[in-house]
């Protein structure tokens, strides 16, 4: 909990206990070897202390068996540590499918967050207890890092790309949110809190009117129409731009023969720098929207695109590399 002195950090996420178990194993291991070395050094230094009447006894050459022993034992130990740490790390990088999505934009020196349902927050994140939460993050300016010590998770928010992290809070309360990557003058003041609530309470909070302005799909659709995206991406055959419905996380083939997955970063690039990756079968006519859409606007657009229901009959070629048409980046002029 915030503000209370303790020598142990609060554990408030499902992963925290696993991380701490490994941490304390490492503490025990370190203590064992530190004491071992310290005792040996002190004991040898005292026992073999120079005395005037004592003849120097030369020691023999190094013993090969001993050298091998103290090479192999540490090696086995560190491999165990590696495997243990890697296993938890893989979990940290595998969000459950049902994770609740929250969008995060870092800027000097604040965190701007938005829930899919529309509610916006600054330097605060409200989440329900017992439900996995996935953050999709970017930055408007320099690198920041989203750090919740009580959850034992941290991830940089990098300008120009999306990074993600997930956690599941398992304890109601308020926890520190820090920016962990140095970002300028007020880096130390780019802090906030994560508020973990009972699910019902969270729902009430989420539907509260304060700071709320329509859900992200609705605002994304409004922005989509305002920017005139539908004039090319109307989703019909023969349209100037590829259809967007059901596109997210599908493989697409580009004009230059590459195949890419249409993930968040790809969608973002296709809006800001459309010529970088044109879908096969379309002309590179889409203008850039750089400077016209804010980072939050981009996230809303993407939430809208992701929300579009996949066509009932997926065209046979839609998932087949080489013929896919369902893509974004071709545009017939600003609408």
């Amino acid at each position: 909990m915030i503000g209370r002195f303790s020598l142990l950090p609060e554990q408030a996420s499902t992963i925290a206990g696993q991380v701490d178990a490994l941490y304390f194993f490492l503490v025990a291991l370190s203590a064992f070897f530190s004491v071992l070395i310290a005792v040996a050094v002190i004991a040898f230094a005292i026992h073999f202390r120079q005395s005037k009447d004592r003849q120097v006894v030369p020691s023999g050459e190094g013993f090969l068996a001993l050298e091998i022993t103290w090479t192999v034992i540490p090696f086995i130990l560190v491999m165990i540590i590696f495997g243990w740490g890697a296993r938890i790390f893989v979990t940290m990088h595998t969000p459950p499918d049902d994770a609740m999505q929250v969008y995060v934009v870092g800027k000097q020196w604040m965190w701007k967050l938005q829930h899919v349902e529309g509610r916006r927050e600054i330097n605060e994140l409200h989440i329900p207890v017992g439900r996995p939460v996935k953050l999709l993050m970017t930055s408007e300016d320099v690198i920041h890092s989203f750090y919740v010590p009580a959850f034992r998770v941290k991830q940089d928010a990098v300008p120009g790309r999306y990074t993600s992290m997930w956690f599941q809070a398992d304890k109601v309360g308020e926890y520190h949110l820090f920016c962990a990557e140095f970002c300028g003058t007020q880096h130390a003041r780019m802090i906030g809190r994560v508020v973990v609530m009972e699910p019902a309470e969270f729902q009430a909070w989420l539907s509260g009117t304060k700071g709320s302005g329509g859900d992200m799909v609705a605002s994304g659709q409004a922005l989509f129409e305002q920017l005139g995206c539908q004039s090319c991406h109307q989703g019909e055959t023969g349209a100037r731009g590829p259809a967007l419905a059901g596109l997210f996380n599908k493989q697409v083939t580009l004009a230059d023969g590459r195949t890419v997955v249409a993930d968040d970063t790809y969608l973002r690039e296709s809006i800001l720098n459309p010529q970088a990756a044109v879908v096969a079968g379309y002309q590179p006519i889409m203008p850039t929207f750089k400077g016209l859409v804010s980072e939050e606007g981009l996230l809303e657009l993407m939430t809208y695109i992701k929300s579009l229901p996949a066509p009932k009959t997926i065209p046979a070629d839609a998932t087949e590399p080489g013929k896919t048409h369902a893509m974004l980046p071709v545009h017939g002029g600003q609408g």
Binding site: L29, F48, G62, A86
Partner: protein
Amino acid sequence: MTETVVHEAHDASVNYLNADYGVRSWLFTKDHKRIGLLYLASITVFFALGGLAALMIRLDLLTPAGDLVRDDTYNKLFTMHGVVMIFLFLIPSIPAVIGNFVLPLMIGARDLAFPRLNLASWYIFNIGALFAAWALLAGGIDTGWTFYTPYSTMSSNSNVLSGAFGAFITGFASILTGVNFIATIHRMRAPGLTWNRLPLFVWAMYATSIIFILGTPVIAITLLLMMIERAFHIGLFDPALGGDPILFQHLFWFYSHPAVYIMILPSMGVISEIITCFSRNRIFGYSFIAASSIAIALIGFLVWGHHMFVSGQSANASLIFSLLSFFVAIPSAIKVFNWTATLYRGSVRLQAPMVYALGFIGLFTIGGLTGLFLSTLATDVHLHDTYFVVAHFHYIMVGGALMGYLGAIHFWWPKMTGRLYNETLAKIAAIIVFVGFNLTFFPQFVLGFLGMPRRYHVYPDEFQVLNVFSTAGASILGIGYLLPVLYLIWSMRYGPKAEANHWGAVGLEWQTSSPPPTENFDHTPVVTSEPYDYREPVEVKKVA
């Protein structure tokens, strides 16, 4: 043992210090010993500057509100501390001061292979260092020593260009030193001094030189690219210009992780010399210690990605970098075990250099073991960019590298100056440093685990208790560093004169007078046996 020949042929009262007088004789010297002392003077000044910044930082952190200095000032202070301590003190410390002075003596050479390059390196270092120091003092830099983009290129309003240019210039001094050492070790060893007989300090200098030569160009290029983006807005690292900020981190750590080994390997070499001399014993596992230096230097180039586990680097890359980072732990462990075993059945004398060396073993062990927490993926996610990291690398770079440096200064001081310092004071200072250091940095491990981010000038109240401990420790540590400056300077004028071989050591550098003559040896020594051959009492045959 070496067929030792201390020649009485030359006038023993003439040595490298009094062979010539005047400022010119120093500024234009090509004598490696004098250049070592020139470096000593330069880096001592920079150590004081970096220490002053540390003092301000610790004072500010005494209270959570950050009320001593303003936000920007604090950011400039920790940048100054980092840039000065790393580029202007730790990297040149042992190689350029101790290495310059004793490496030719240890291998029975008259000088380094390229004495003019050696002098040039000192000038280049000072030009770069003054550039950086000017940037840091006149206006300051607020990026941290890591210069992360796009903050450094597009956001910071401080003297990034001149500071980075200064660091860029000092890199050339490192390269020249590295080239010089490698050429010298290959070409100028005394007859009979085979690779298997090389003192381990020389092996450590060899490994360090490899990193100087392979790594320094990369940081030079990286800093140059960063400067180009900042000055001309050519998109390299800033995504707004089409660049990739994570590319900068890859390039930066490709040098800056091996740079940690530039700081610690020389100290490891020093420890091998001191431990053997003060336990009157042969080194345990000579070839393992020598090989582990080279292994650290080489594997050290493959682990840079462990600084980037939460940067947005792919999880697969992180897995591989984590695995490789554990490999580099093994040679370090081997060294610690072998040093400890060297004490066994020795005849241990706890004189000042030995106290520093044993302190090194303790602090380096903790520093190395806490490195495991940071190469472990799951724990690093939590500990990255917290005070845990700050504590860890200070245990390595201050507890390790700086203890080694102080040990080296105390060990070779009689050789360098021909004078003896006060042994009691020196031991007290070593103990003060050890205690002060632990009190300063151990609480920071706990702070990091609790989640206090580094580079925080204002922090939540619950972290204050441990910060107070840390600041208290730092003031003790400061006294521990001030003491040697005083009694060492005092000894230069008033200290008793030192014998040629004050410690009764077997290294070649002890077989010539203290201080040595300008040409080091009157006759080229011939080596006939292994190093650290302390079985027989040291004999010094005097040839008329």
